[in-house]
């Protein structure tokens, strides 16, 4: 997510930071490159123009020129402008336990409304104690759309409301009644995808809005959308006044320019990011963190949040203690891998680490299957071997390799890297190292 944009910015800024003094030409060149990087990320043309104008206006100012670190100053300006573009405030979902909360999902065909509806229902139930969700299938056009929602609902153990009619207003009315009798206090209305220029279907949405009186209307948009994203978003907003945007398919290598454009055009914030087909993969959107991520500063805060939900605190404390004393063994490593796995796909996590998108990492595609292989190798060791890897001689290596269906070289490699890891862990325990830039605070 945003990786290639991040790489581009990295290159541009490295050039700038290398210069002791900046002149108009340096800045002009940098701005040209920023323009190109943003356009290739599908940020809307007009917005790019504005963005670049504003940044260069600030960058050629006296303060930057006089500063001892002009390159860093420019980065700072870009950072600020990015945040401003995406909205400086974080959006918070609020539900009222004592009445029916209603969310309406709208968007183009194929943007991911149905999957996102299910994800949102699951998130609502998880984050709010007294919330009991129900999905309402209002996509009466796409073949099998209702089945899709029903299946997703079943996977989550969330009921799906369906009746056999093409009249969505009727569906909505019945659903509202059903919610009251079934004590469901969060209704998520999944509507059919439609073109923003389809007057008939847009009117259907307006009618639906009138009937439901939703607390939130979310516009679901594909992160891979190109220049047209703003046109679509504006039209939907003009007709429905939505409350926020959910960007989906962020697990692709889309550069997510839509995230930068939509807020600027509609004034409505991006509220969630959908990444992946797994139901749990809905992430809150924080403009500042996103700006950090785009500028290669990593997104440690989101990573920490993920860690907090997935990792057992006591376990973590124990682990940290062991690392401090340098008693970390392969069993601990195995536990750690299991915890990492709970936090989500590895490539997503790595993207949140600062400095993980430099050139060395560029071509690395991390495959979660490889993690399974490592686990298999460690699991093929005896508890004693895991405790003291030094015990593992040639014969044992062969046995482990055979037991885990890998080669002796792979076993060797794992052992070697585990040793290197332990050496590096020692360094982690040195507070000076922690401050020296491993983490950007």
């Amino acid at each position: 997510m945003f990786n290639s944009l991040q790489e581009r910015f990295d290159g541009i800024f490295r050039k700038l930071k290398g210069k002791g003094k900046l002149n108009d030409d340096n800045i002009k060149e940098a701005m040209r490159e920023i323009r190109r990087a943003l356009l290739e990320a599908d940020v809307n043309f007009k917005i790019v123009k504005n963005f670049v104008d504003q940044v260069s206006e600030k960058a050629v100012g006296q303060e930057v020129m006089k500063s001892l670190t002009p390159g860093h100053q420019v980065v700072k300006i870009v950072h600020e402008q990015l945040i401003q573009l995406m909205g400086s405030q974080n959006f918070k979902l609020n539900f009222n336990d004592n009445r029916t909360n209603k969310i309406m999902m709208v968007g183009l065909q194929g943007s991911g409304k149905t999957t996102t509806s299910a994800k949102l229902a699951s998130l609502g139930r998880k984050k709010f104690k007294n919330i009991s969700p129900m999905l309402v299938a209002c996509d009466v056009y796409r073949p099998a759309a209702i089945e899709q929602l029903t299946v997703l609902g079943k996977q989550l153990d969330i009921p799906t409301f369906t009746i056999n009619t093409k009249n969505v207003v009727k569906i909505a009315k019945k659903a509202l009644k059903e919610a009251e009798s079934e004590n469901k206090n969060l209704l998520i209305f999944d509507t059919a995808g439609r073109l923003h220029i389809d007057q008939v279907l847009m009117k259907e949405l307006r009618d639906l809005k009138q009937t439901i009186q939703p607390d939130y209307i979310f516009f679901v948009a594909d992160a891979m959308t190109g220049q047209d994203a703003v046109n679509v978003a504006r039209e939907f907003n003009d007709q429905l006044e939505f409350d926020g945007v959910i960007l989906t398919k962020m697990d692709s290598d889309a550069r997510g320019g839509a995230a930068l454009s939509i807020k600027a055009v509609t004034g409505k914030p991006v509220v969630f990011l959908g990444a992946g087909e797994k139901i749990s993969d809905l992430e809150e959107f924080h403009p500042k963190r996103m700006a950090d991520r785009i500028l290669g500063m990593g997104d440690v805060l989101t990573l920490i949040e993920k860690a907090e939900t997935a990792i057992d605190e006591e376990e973590a404390l124990k682990l940290a203690e062991k690392m401090k004393k340098n008693q970390f063994n392969l069993t601990d490593f195995l536990n750690q891998l299991a915890q990492i796995k709970k936090m989500g796909p590895l490539d997503q996590l790595m993207g949140m680490l600062p400095g993980m998108n430099n050139n060395a990492m560029k071509n690395v595609k991390v495959d979660d299957k490889e993690m399974a292989r490592i686990e298999a190798i460690i699991l093929s060791m005896t508890p004693r071997e895991r405790d003291k890897p030094a015990l593992i001689n040639g014969k044992r290596r062969l046995r482990i390799a055979q037991g885990s269906g890998s080669s002796v070289q792979q076993v060797n490699r794992l052992l070697k890297q585990f040793e290197q890891m332990k050496i590096m862990m020692k360094k982690f325990n040195n507070p000076k190292f922690m401050k020296s830039g491993m983490l950007p605070f």
Binding site: L39, E40, A41, D42, F45, Q89, N90, F91, K92, Q109, G110, G112, R142, P143, A145, E147, Q148, L195, H196, D222, M224, T225, G226, Q227, D228, A229, V230, N231, R234, D243, A264, V265, T266, G267, K268, P269, E277, A307, E308, I311, A316, L317, L319, A320, K324, L337, I340, L346, L349, M350, V364, V366, D367, E370, I374, Q410, R413, M425, N429, M434
Partner: protein, 348 residues
């Protein structure tokens, strides 16, 4: 492959460092990171919004206006043209190439008229789109031996299943027998969706349960096609992100399975691209092309306001031509690609 190991270890290591850091600084962070609650935001960017209102005149109208005002063709005009191309998602690189060629032609041919500019730039793009096809749209392959196998791939939500349904109808209407293979065994209800289309189109369908191995579905389906001697086989695959290695490997396996049953198949391997997609489509075409040799692109959802200019880049940079376009919901709205219509849409 082995390099993954190293990076997983690095990741684990960093995660470990993070853990320690997390525990050390937990209290501090909690104080610092209180997230402000926000209500509904008002439209603050009215200015920008106003400026973004779509111009009524098409690009060519604008050019004519500009020329009248200035009476000559200059850099600014070229920049406006480039802007139009970028706005249509043609992409920075390809747009740049087009404008460079235009600049050269203007100089060489001493072009001064708007009409000429219009003709020249559309000519340049047309040459790009039809390079290697003798100036004619390539279109779908004709039936040489039974069955003609067409594989459909693409990222999620681009309209693969719908396209297959429409194409099936088209073939059935011309008297061909069609078999659909439901190899999207992943997305909930995808098989049902295809089955509904099969019924509407009057085509046969070969299916297994959700969660079945797609390659095995394809294998059985093709066997069935050979046995029942159908003319056309359309294979639906699950939408997948081109960045997911496992899923791309799975697709590659499907491709190999097809070849195992029918060695010269798939006769067409079509990437379905949503017209609203931006520059990411280039990456999609590149990665899908690696998993299964692409023979063409289907550009869907052209009935919106998106222009689908990215297909120019896909042809120009990866040499994969557009073969079909989808311009609406009805079955008749799947058409053969026409470069002239496409260009008209970009510049109007």
């Amino acid at each position: 492959m082995q390099d993954y190991l190293l990076y997983i270890v690095i990741a684990a290591l960093l995660m470990a460092g993070l853990l320690i850091w997390l525990l050390l600084s937990r209290k501090k962070r909690k104080r610092a990171d209180t997230i402000p609650k926000s209500g509904k935001t008002n439209t603050q960017s009215v200015n920008l919004k106003e400026r973004l209102v779509k111009t009524k005149n098409g690009l060519l109208g604008q050019i004519a206006e500009l020329l009248q005002l200035r009476g000559k063709i200059d850099e600014e005009l070229l920049e406006d043209l480039e802007e139009a191309l970028i706005k249509a998602d043609v992409g920075v690189e390809t747009s740049g190439d087009i404008i460079d060629k235009l600049r050269l032609r203007i100089r060489e041919e001493k072009i001064t008229e708007t009409v000429e500019i219009q003709r020249t730039i559309t000519g340049i793009i047309k040459d790009m789109m039809l390079a290697d096809y003798a100036g004619k749209e390539p279109g779908l392959k004709e039936l040489n031996s039974k069955p003609l196998v067409i594989l459909f791939t693409g990222v999620n939500g681009v309209g693969k299943t719908t396209t297959i349904g429409k194409l099936a109808k088209r073939y059935v209407d011309t008297g061909k027998s069609v078999l659909l293979i439901a190899a999207d065994t992943f997305r909930a209800a995808a098989i049902d969706q295809l089955a509904i289309w099969a019924e509407r189109a009057g085509a046969d369908i070969s299916r297994q349960n959700q969660g079945a191995d797609p390659s095995s579905v394809v294998f059985d389906g093709l066997k069935k096609a050979l046995n029942s001697n159908v003319d056309i086989v359309l294979i639906d695959t699950a939408g997948r992100q081109h960045t997911k290695i496992n899923l791309m490997n799975e697709l590659n396996k499907i491709d190999r399975t097809i070849k195992k049953v029918i060695p010269d198949a798939p006769h067409e391997s079509l990437l379905v691209v949503d017209a609203t997609t931006g520059q990411n489509a280039l990456m999609q075409a590149e990665m899908f092309g690696k998993a299964t040799n692409l023979s063409g692109v289907v550009l869907t959802k052209l009935d919106g306001t998106a222009k689908g200019g990215i297909v120019v880049g896909i042809k120009h940079q990866l040499d994969v031509p557009v073969k079909l376009i989808g311009v609406g919901e009805s079955t008749a709205d799947l058409r053969d690609f026409s470069v002239d219509e496409f260009l008209k849409a970009i510049f109007d």
